[in-house]
């Protein structure tokens, strides 16, 4: 089976997952208590206003019909509008999703770039001071609450040292005098494309602190998973035979062993990536980062279910794509994995 047919088949199967999630979230959101029409109407609506809105939004129709209407709009690429703000969800997500993805991707990159070498070395020298230090750091990274870490980071790098900004995606003067031409919604990429280097470095500057804070969890996992699986791989006969052949420690650790040991870490980091899309809301809130986490949290508090469904669907798609990517990566690394 080639990679392409594998990809197509997996995508085909994913459609069913997607439909399942769609059906579940749609019906669950309709049966939970709440009065969406009243929410749409705003403060202190009159009963007849609410009734009129009910008709306007189609909430008076039977549930299956409402569902069909929703699916029809969805197929047109329309996620609907927020009952709370009456804004188009498509427009909102086109701003919030890239912001979150930029943050989460940066965090995952940090986690992998730092975590893998650290995990490799910790696994290679078990019982060393380095090993114990990284274990401690990894446990701390996983267990320290992100909001606490965020506050400490702001205190140290903004209040005390003054090296990094407090929050936001760009400085106000940059957004006024060197505005970033929106294309992908990723400020760093957009700024780089348009060679707007002032904005590029400013956006990067703003990204560092929240990305570092958000990376603590995946970093801890990456270190632990890599360390544990290196420990296992290094006791394999093929490592002994590589040593017996006189291959250097560097090649053994970072090439021969790492390729065998990296997959568990990538799998878990892949999952934490998808989780972080909505799970980053505390970090987003503290750093005033206009992301999906913040967006969906407000929606939940307001029982704004078009937004809740839309974000759920987007996160589902991210999960599906990330899992697919991880599977493909595994097949790429391991010739014994049969795609199917």
């Amino acid at each position: 089976m080639t990679a392409l047919t594998f990809l197509l088949r997996r995508l085909g199967l994913s459609v069913f997952v997607f439909i399942g999630v769609l059906v579940l979230t749609f019906f669950v959101s309709r049966v939970i208590p709440g009065n969406p029409a009243a929410l749409y109407a705003g403060a202190r609506p009159r009963p007849e206003q609410v009734a009129a809105i009910k008709v306007k939004l189609g909430l008076d129709k039977p549930l299956p019909e409402q569902f069909l209407v929703y699916v029809r709009d969805l197929l047109d690429g329309d996620l609907g509008e927020s009952y709370h703000s009456r804004r188009s969800i498509n427009t909102d997500l086109s701003i919030f999703l890239p912001a979150t993805l930029e943050l989460v991707i940066a965090a995952v990159i940090i986690a992998l770039i730092l975590g893998i070498p650290v995990g490799v070395l910790a696994g290679a020298y078990p019982g060393s001071v380095f090993d114990y230090a990284t274990r401690l750091a990894a446990v701390a990274g996983v267990s320290v609450p992100s909001f606490w870490l965020a506050l400490i980071a702001q205190f140290v790098f903004f209040s005390t040292l003054g090296w990094l900004p407090l929050g936001g995606r760009v400085s106000r003067d940059i957004s006024l005098f060197y505005p970033i031409a929106a294309q992908t919604g990723f400020y760093i990429i957009d700024a780089a494309i348009s060679s707007n280097w002032r904005a590029f470095f400013d956006a990067l500057h703003h990204l560092i602190l929240p990305a570092l804070v958000l990376s603590a969890y995946p970093l801890g996992i990456t270190i632990r998973m890599t360390q544990a699986s290196m420990l296992e791989v290094l006791s394999e006969t093929y490592i002994t035979s590589a040593r017996a052949a006189g291959i250097s420690q560097r090649v053994i650790l970072f090439k021969l062993a790492l390729k065998n040991a990296i997959m568990p870490a990538l799998t878990v980091v892949g999952l934490s990536f998808a989780y972080s899309i909505t799970g980053a809301f505390l970090v987003e809130t503290i750093f005033s980062w206009p992301g999906v986490g913040k967006y969906v949290t407000e929606a939940v508090l307001n029982v704004d279910f078009p937004v809740i469904i839309a974000v759920t669907l987007v996160v589902t798609i991210v999960y599906i794509l990330v899992n697919l990517f991880v599977d493909l990566l595994q097949a790429l690394l391991d010739p014994r994995v049969r795609l199917g």
């Binding site: 394999e236 006969t237 093929y238 002994t240 035979s241 590589a242 040593r243 017996a244 052949a245 006189g246 291959i247 250097s248 090649v251 090439k255 021969l256 390729k259 065998n260 690394l333 391991d334 010739p335 014994r336």
Partner: protein, 324 residues
């Protein structure tokens, strides 16, 4: 001439149950261009001896005494960096199960190029040619294709040939073959042993062949060292020992071999069990199982005595046998 001399090698393992005496002081010599068989039962210390020579014992192992002289240099006194130069380059090793001794995620070609690159930095093109000629030397079909093949795509015999090619890559003087045919079919066994003999003859490589199979020793080796419970029971030229085994243990082993014509009769066994590695042994390690045991055997460890030239046995009884 002596290429590799093991002198009083003693190895212990730290375990939760206490020290395990894996090797209790062994001596033997490997001469240039010969195949030496290291035989014994499971746990007699033959693999540990191999690992000690190449300096790849597990972390809980400790060499408490002895010397390993390779061209008159004590390998046990070498720094890590110096020992790293010896591995692959001067002494290489092949393993029991080639399926686990080859890295599953790299092509055979990539693995052999790693070894080549580690020992002689050259241009990629040269490495590739060298790798393919090594594959041809060990009898792998279609060397060009081997460059792109993963271990799991090969048969067990081909995997072991590839492993041997890897061990030859840096042109070592000594190859330690740890049960190289145990995981293979009998017909493939014979082919792999043939290959080892050819390599020994054509490249004058010395081989330490670790095995539990006396048949393999008889066919393949010039010298044999019989280990029992971490000690050498008997050693010498293969013909001499097979013709007139002196140590009761060797005799027992040879008697236990099933022979054509012995069909229907019970297999001969050596009664009793190998002493635990946790025990300290005062006298002869074989005494509890020996049918000729004497008072002296239990209290005093027998010294080596020359039966003939190049045939030594560690037994208080040897004179009796010599007369017989």
């Amino acid at each position: 001439m002596a290429l590799l001399s093991i002198e009083n090698l003693t190895v212990e393992f730290n375990t939760p149950f206490g020290a395990v005496y894996a090797i209790r002081g062994i001596d033997f010599t490997l001469r240039k261009g010969e195949i030496l068989g290291l035989v014994g039962e499971t746990g007699c210390g033959k693999s540990v001896t191999g690992r000690s020579i190449i300096g790849l014992l597990d972390d809980n192992a400790r060499i408490t005494a002895g010397r390993i002289l390779f061209e008159d240099v004590d390998l046990l006194r070498l720094s890590d960096a110096a020992m790293h130069e010896v591995r692959g380059n001067r002494i290489a090793m092949i393993f029991q199960d080639p399926a686990t001794a080859l890295n599953p995620l790299f092509t055979i070609g990539a693995q052999i190029m790693d070894v080549l690159r580690a020992h002689r930095p050259a241009k990629r093109g040269d490495l590739k040619t060298d790798a393919m000629s090594l594959f041809a030397d060990v009898g792998l079909p279609d060397p060009a294709q081997m460059m792109h093949v993963y271990p799991h795509q090969l048969s067990g015999g081909q995997q072991q040939r590839a492993m041997i090619a890897l061990s030859l890559a840096a042109e070592p003087d000594v190859i330690i073959a740890d049960e190289p045919t145990t995981a293979l079919d009998v017909t493939i066994q014979a082919q792999i042993l043939d290959l080892l003999r050819v390599l020994q003859r054509e490249r004058s490589i010395s081989v330490i062949l670790i095995t539990h199979d006396l048949g393999i020793v008889a066919e393949t080796c010039q010298q044999v060292v019989v280990l029992y419970a971490g000690r050498v029971a008997e050693k010498g030229a293969v013909e001499a020992i097979f013709a007139a085994p002196q140590h009761p243990y060797t005799r027992g082993l040879l008697a236990a071999l099933p022979r054509p014509g012995s069909r229907g009769s019970d297999l001969q066994v050596i009664a009793g069990a190998v002493p635990s590695g946790l025990e300290r042994i005062a006298g002869c390690a074989f005494a509890p199982r020996c049918e000729y045991v004497m008072e002296i055997c239990r209290g005093q460890q027998p010294a080596f005595s020359d039966i003939k030239q190049a045939h030594q046995s560690a037994c208080h009884l040897h004179e009796t046998f010599a007369d017989a």
